[in-house]
């Protein structure tokens, strides 16, 4: 056995070329290609459905074909007899142990949170609710066995329309009635603002129901050794999930490990505690075998929570010159059949955003959450802010039309000027920074605004059957969910901090551990850039670990454009603590005062002499621990938990030009310009990608997507063949640019970008469609603006409102 010679090993590490020289170039701001890509591009992936365990079996769920019914009989006995079948169960078999799926956000005093059994026991309340399951050796055997399960239902009336649901004689979704909650927020003298207002705008907008449609369907794998449990899930929230599953199933938290392996997109849809996660855990506990569930897309369209689904009644009072006096919003929000993890919180996340970037004296927000016999709604990219932004940006165009002024002029007369930040809005949020003028100016230049307006006028004059419409959206949004103090005030069931750790390895390499849980956002790359700059170590010497509660033990996960703004800052702060420890050690080894050291390019240097120690040398010295100063531990490893004081507020100006064929109703996006201010940028490549994808999803809401139920509660868009996700052929190239006002709320100056594109683009597109048709008397087209709806609007018939 060779004796370990610390000095020799240290030299070997240095000479082996393993420790690359830092380039001296700042990593933050650099368009680094992603570290994540190679695996994903070559098929070396760990999607949950790829995973195998010894003895693993497959579960499939039988799902209710009825929107609302009493379950009078479930017989699984024939299924149990089929070859390859291990077990078959009904909801009654789990009734004593399955608990209720959690809702973490009781938003009001009057909220009703009905019992939500993971598998229905006596009543089903939406098409797709699980009523039985079969466990077999493989998916083909399980599918055969599902056919043999018999269920008798006694139909109950479906409850599909929110207005009808709130009438006294409506059938009830739950015994308690169809109202989930109601809440009102008032600021300023709303009555006075509306009294004798020279301009009044009164509109109702429909936020259609959407299916988030992450490309990876959900999958769950649960296993146990009889003592501890491991759950792999295609989830955005391994940490939140662990806590919630412990509470729901009674499996003690310290005996439950949750892993989010590779996760193929989420957009909020995997921010959930699902029935299938609970049931797979119960099944592995019961059967002692690893149990996997792999969702089919058609199953997912029925049972992955949906998004949006609000009716927005918006009234705006303004002066004759267009200055806004006040805003009133009455919201009906479709909860679906149950309140899931943050179902009632989604409309409330928009409550403070209806006023957008505009100054006004008075604001009133009233929201009623309504139960219907549909799949529950919950977070979908933007969660509350796209809905609010749509309403205010559509109404600003109506205001402009009413006054006969350019929509950008109506906005200029009302927006917060760049010299007015920080600005506390009528709804009580304090916007820290921004420059709406700069973003708008840049967008107008890139778009060729005046030229397009001239073309529009020309086409109008000529009576061209293809009309040009120009849509404007000057949005802001609320990112970085969320300051724990504010979440507490909002009665949310958890905090909003994030955790980061840095492990300095003996060879000078670095492990960054993050509590965020990326599923496409590129955190491995961006966090490496942050740590490389902070520690002065090469980008390639850093790895980022995440998504496993046994590795990243603390975290609040990824949603609400929070990861960089909170999690990235936690990584930075952990790096700073590493440096604090390293400084003490360096001072000891260099026999100087810590104050005499300056840190530059990854090394502590004694001012005025050539003596220095690199951070890698110090990591090795801490590892050997042969010569540590008094009170210094044998490690530089550090961690930090960051909790912001305020949200961050990215903003921007999106401009969309559409060509609308008035004879066919076809809408074609001619050009799309997005200028976003997301504060400081860590990786411009990743930011641009987030904006592109966000715009695409917002455009999809405007033009293509809608989850449609029939009057009996059947989902008519239950397959990907029926629910229209845009392909490359349906979308244009987007022109993107940025302006930059650093956030003052965090040391990185970052604001968040994950949802911005989606929030901004939907009103830009619909404003453009309406703008094209306004001379024909059209002032709204309900989303999605399909050719049929546009054509009907042109014809002045159903589907489009005329003034």
């Amino acid at each position: 056995m060779t004796e370990l010679d610390a000095g020799l090993v240290g030299e070997q590490i240095a000479e082996s070329g393993q420790v690359a020289e830092p380039s001296g170039r700042r990593e933050i701001g650099r368009a680094r290609r992603r570290k994540e890509d190679a695996r994903l591009l070559t098929g070396h992936t760990r999607w949950t459905d790829n995973l195998q365990q010894p003895g693993m079996v497959q579960v499939m769920f039988l799902r209710s074909p009825m929107a609302h019914a009493r379950i009078t009989r479930v017989d699984v006995s024939a299924a149990r007899e089929l070859p390859g079948v291990l077990a078959a169960f009904s909801g009654r078999d789990f009734a004593d142990e399955q608990g209720s799926l959690p809702c973490a956000w009781p938003v009001s005093e009057d909220i009703v949170i009905p019992d939500h059994p993971p598998m229905a026991v006596s009543e089903v309340r939406y098409v797709g609710e699980a009523v039985a399951c079969v466990v077999a050796t493989d998916r083909y055997r399980a599918a055969d066995a599902l056919e043999a399960v018999e269920v008798d239902y006694e139909p109950l009336p479906a409850v599909m329309d929110m207005h009808d649901a709130l009438t006294p004689d409506s059938p009830k979704v739950h015994e308690s009635g169809n109202k989930a909650f109601s809440t009102t927020i008032t600021s300023g003298d709303v009555e006075a603002a509306f009294r004798d207002a020279p301009v009044l705008i009164d509109r109702t907008y429909i936020q259609q129901r959407l299916i988030p449609s992450a490309m990876e369907p959900r999958a769950v794998l649960a296993s146990t050794d009889g003592d501890t449990f491991t759950l792999w899930s295609s989830t955005q929230i391994p940490h939140v999930l662990r806590v919630m599953l412990a509470v729901t199933t009674g499996i003690p938290e310290h005996r439950l490990r949750v892993i989010a392996p590779d996760v193929g997109g989420g957009f909020g849809s995997k921010l959930q505690v699902t029935a299938e996660e609970v049931l797979c855990l119960l099944l592995t506990r019961r059967l002692g075998r690893p149990v996997k569930w792999s969702e089919s897309r058609s199953e997912g369209n029925l049972t992955v929570h949906h998004g949006r689904d609000q009716i927005q009644h918006v009234r705006l009072a303004a002066e004759a010159d267009g200055r806004i006096r006040g805003l009133r919003v009455e919201l009906l929000a479709d909860m679906g059949a149950y309140l899931m993890l943050v179902t009632p919180g989604v409309p409330m996340l928009g409550a403070s955003m209806f006023n957008g970037i505009y100054k006004m004296d008075a604001y009133e927000f009233a929201c009623t959450g309504v139960f219907t016999t549909k799949m529950p709604t919950d977070a979908y990219r933007g969660a509350g802010r796209p809905e609010a932004t749509y309403a205010i940006e559509r109404v600003m165009d109506e205001l402009a039309a009413e006054l006969g002024i350019d929509p950008l002029e109506a906005r200029r007369r009302n927006w917060i000027r760049h010299d007015e930040f920080p600005y506390t809005t009528v709804s009580g949020l304090t916007y820290d920074s921004g420059n709406y003028e700069a973003a708008t100016e840049r967008a107008m230049a890139l778009f060729g605004y005046d030229k397009l307006r001239a073309e529009q006028a020309d086409r109008r004059d000529r009576g061209d059957p293809v009309q040009l419409g120009i849509g404007v959206s000057t949005y802001t949004e609320m990112c970085g969910l969320a300051p724990s103090r504010l979440l507490g005030m909002a009665n949310y069931g958890a905090g909003g901090w994030e955790h980061g750790s840095v492990r300095m390895l003996p060879t000078g390499k670095v492990e960054v551990i993050t509590g965020t849980s990326p599923h496409g956002q590129g955190h491995v790359t961006s966090w490496s850039q942050i740590a490389a700059d902070a520690l002065g170590v090469p980008f390639d010497d850093i790895t980022v670990l995440h998504g496993d509660t046994a590795v990243a033990h603390k975290g609040m996960d990824t949603y609400g454009s929070r990861s960089l703004v909170i999690g990235g800052v936690a990584v930075l702060q952990a790096c700073e603590k590493v440096k604090d420890k390293a400084r003490k050690l360096a001072a000891h080894l260099l026999e100087c005062s810590p104050d005499d050291l300056e840190f530059e390019a990854g090394a502590f240097k004694v001012r005025g002499t050539g003596a220095s120690k690199t951070i890698q040398e110090l990591a090795f010295a801490a590892f050997t621990a042969h010569d540590l100063p008094e009170g210094v531990e044998a490690r530089l490893d550090s961690d930090a938990t960051f909790d912001p004081d305020n949200y961050s507020f990215p903003h921007g100006t999106h401009l969309c030009a559409v060509e609308v064929d008035t004879e066919t109703g076809m809408v074609k996006i001619r050009s799309y310009v997005a200028v976003d201010d997301v504060g400081k940028v860590v990786n411009p490549l990743i930011v641009e990608g987030q904006v592109h994808g966000g715009i695409a999803q917002g455009v999809a809401q405007a033009l293509f997507e809608e989850a449609v139920y029939d009057a009996d509660g059947n989902l008519l868009t239950a397959t990907m063949a029926d629910y229209l996700l845009p392909s490359a052929a349906d979308l244009p190239a987007f022109t993107t640019d940025r302006t930059e006002t650093p956030s003052t709320g965090n040391p990185l100056g970052v604001k968040g970008v994950g949802e911005a594109g989606t929030i901004a683009s939907t009103p830009a597109v619909v404003n453009a469609v309406v703008d094209a048709l306004r001379p024909r008397g059209v002032r709204d087209v309900q989303m999605p603006c399909t050719p049929e709806r546009v054509w009907r609007a042109v014809q002045g018939t159903r589907g489009g409102e005329r003034s």
Binding site: R33, R34, E36, D37, A38, R39, L40, L41, T42, G43, H44, T45, W47, D49, N50, D138, R139, Y140, S213, A214, M215, E216, P217, D262, V263, G264, G265, F267, S296, R297, S298, H519, G520, Q521, G522, L685, I686, E688, G689, Q690, H692, G693, G694, I695, A696, Q697, T719, M720, A721, L725, S727, A728, A729, L731, A733, F734, G757
Partner: protein, 160 residues
């Protein structure tokens, strides 16, 4: 049970398969080729696209028995000698993937597209990829990557 012979990424397999077994399930669950994912059950998304005798095919829409005697190339077998195919490299360079779930199918479809048109316009690319859905990227960078991949593949042909 029918016995089929199938070559996948250069390895020949003989398998007894149920007639109803889908090619994608044969690949993923029997042969361990999990690089090819499943994104839907109506052949809309294209995530499972592989090369079947040199042409792109959605492996969820092919029965394993139909692939008897065929040569299948998946994303795992696309690169040669441990290096990535030019189209894979182009996707990396242009940041044409985020979550990466659609990527194997998208890369396969892109390569097949170039067989018909080695120097495609943006419009040709957009229409050529109509059968492959991506939810993350908004397609802008995918289009750029296919253009770049086409150029690099063209150069390789010219220099070889």
């Amino acid at each position: 049970m029918p016995r089929i012979t199938i070559t996948v990424d250069g390895i020949r397999y003989e398998e007894d398969v149920e007639p109803r077994l889908l090619l994608v399930h044969l690949l993923r669950e029997r042969l361990g080729k999990t690089g090819t994912p499943i994104g839907c059950d109506t052949s809309n998304c294209g995530a499972c696209t592989v090369m079947l005798d040199g042409r792109s095919a959605k492996s969820c829409s092919v029965l394993a028995v139909q692939a008897d005697g065929c040569d299948v190339v998946t994303i795992e077998g696309l690169g040669a000698d441990g290096s990535m195919h030019p189209m894979q490299r182009a996707f990396h360079e242009e940041h044409a993937l985020q979550c990466g779930y659609c990527t194997p199918g998208m890369v396969m479809a892109a390569i097949d597209l170039l067989r018909n048109d080695p120097d495609p316009s943006e419009e040709t690319i957009r229409h050529g990829l109509e059968g492959n859905l991506c939810r993350c990227t908004g397609y802008c960078n995918i289009v750029r990557a296919v253009k770049r991949g086409a150029q690099e593949m063209g150069q390789e042909v010219r220099t070889s």
